[in-house]
Symmetry: C2
Subunit: 318 residues, 2 copies
């Protein structure tokens, strides 16, 4: 399939074309730049909803329920589930994903897992580009699920229009959330497993937190309770997502976020290409020979300057 | 204090100069490049030992015991403890650090905690530069402790000469270790809390793993057992660290690792500066104005190319 064909099919909503394009993104295929350029004008309509929270908070079950409701409204859905980077806590979360499997036979739901093991800025870039592809392929809602265990996942969450932070009465995370500055990215708090003891205290703590926090664009993050297993409270979450979307669209905040996202996108591409340039320069030619002999004589800052300015093949200028 | 003075004092082993220089590294102070250049020739003698493992595996207690033995041999020690990036699991690990406090009054042990919340590649760069400063200040051993919960921590571990992976019978991590590719970075396995039931099974599993793994530079990672609380087995860990150091020095592997580290260092500087260049370009002048109006018309790849090639102030060339 040629690139224009792939772009056409993707924009027509062809699932296999979409899958192939996302694979190109994950493989950091250089041809993706051209493809994204072709489909760009078709993007910009999807609402991007990020869902984050600690392992075991029931994020996937909640996502499953939200997807179920969107499908009931005939909305086309895309899901990007970012697997944790942790080499030590990898196991449990993947099992969790199984709960979304009931949607895998529904062509109206496109689910892709993405491993957070890429290089510098790679995960956020890959997520952003995948969102754009899902958007261009006509998905009305894109869910971005992360476990929020690292800087790169936080960067991913910054690409969402609406961010939901899920916690539970048992995880005692309310306090951690304050510390970690999660408050700044949360548009909606969900206390899941609200049938467990201690739920009302967590709700109270979070409301207190929100009250003392800074309002962004006239939106005060609601604190909702759910029992995702049974579906209790999920309608309210879906309604809050819509309400938040309307509020930020009206206030100009949505536009502001999209510009910020575009900036981050450009920055990530610059970083990725600069890293590539560095790797190429350091593994071949004159510069790799400079990394022999007495290493204490090598000045990494001077080498870096030369690479960045495209002078990696010339001797140092000073 | 002028930069040459700071460099002089640091190389003379002055702890306050060292602390100030490391703070500059953490603040990403531009003056650090010059300082590192001045002290570079004095560096290259310290052995860098990385210690990683899941939270609760007793890494800090083990580190404390190893430091104690090194101090018994009059070795000067530097410690960089990387705090986890996780906004959700941050609490427990910090408490753990308290175990190293007994060394804080010993001028022969310099301990610095470093938060893993920096930007792209920032943590690995900061750790590498801090190691170089500790090295230049005459520390014989530098311990690098991470909880290994993310890509950035793995990058940090790659800066070590010898990497110790700590696990316990109860954490059931032996299997996770295989999956996560930790095997490739482990030079020494330590099964801590070896007095707990199941220790011999973990040892057996790890030995099996090592047997099927690829030998690096003629070194087969030993699987040692410790009870760090009581000090049992720690002498063997210290001996294994020395043995590994001698082996890789003799085989040329140490030199190979140091070149790889230098490459990574240059790459990280390139990335950091490229990101800075992108941020500057996108927040001022012509380019920031291009991020207004119809965003679907903006081609982030074209913008990125222009920034990378230093043409951010000119219109696109094609």
């Amino acid at each position: 399939m040629t690139e224009p064909e792939l772009a056409e099919r993707l924009m027509a909503g062809d699932t296999r074309a979409l899958a192939r394009a996302i694979r190109m993104v994950e493989d950091r295929d250089p041809a993706i730049a051209g493809l994204l350029r072709r489909v760009r004008e078709r993007a910009g309509r999807a609402r991007v909803i990020g869902v984050t929270g600690p392992p075991g908070s029931g994020k996937s079950t909640l996502c499953d329920q939200v997807i179920h409701r969107w499908r009931g409204k005939e909305l086309q859905v895309g899901v990007i589930a970012v697997d944790p980077t942790s080499p030590f806590t990898g196991g449990a979360i993947l099992g969790d994903r199984v709960r979304m499997v009931r949607h895998t036979l529904d062509p109206g739901v496109f689910i892709r897992s993405m491993a957070a093991r890429g290089h510098l800025g790679g995960l956020a870039a890959a997520a952003r580009e995948s969102i754009r592809l899902l958007d261009a392929s006509g998905r009305d809602r894109v869910l971005l699920e992360t476990v929020g265990v690292g800087q790169s996942e936080l960067e991913v969450m910054e690409t969402a229009d609406t961010t939901i932070v899920v916690t539970t009465p048992s995880s005692g995370d309310a306090v951690q959330i304050i510390k970690a500055g999660i408050l700044e990215i949360a548009d909606i708090f969900v206390v899941n497993k609200a049938d467990l003891p201690g739920a009302s205290k967590v709700v109270r703590d979070l409301k207190e937190l929100v009250r003392h926090g800074k309002l962004r664009a006239g939106w005060s993050p609601p604190v909702l309770t759910t029992v995702a297993e049974s579906g209790e409270g999920v309608d309210e979450v879906v309604a809050a997502i819509d309400r938040h979307g309307e509020t930020i669209a009206a206030s100009g905040e949505l536009e502001r976020r999209r510009i910020a996202r575009l900036r981050a996108e450009v920055e990530a591409i610059v970083v990725e290409r600069a890293a590539e340039r560095a790797r190429n320069a350091l593994h071949e030619g004159t510069m790799s020979r400079e990394l022999e002999g007495d290493l204490s004589r090598v000045d990494p800052y001077a080498l870096a300057e030369r690479i960045l300015n495209g002078h990696s093949k010339e001797p140092p200028q000073r």
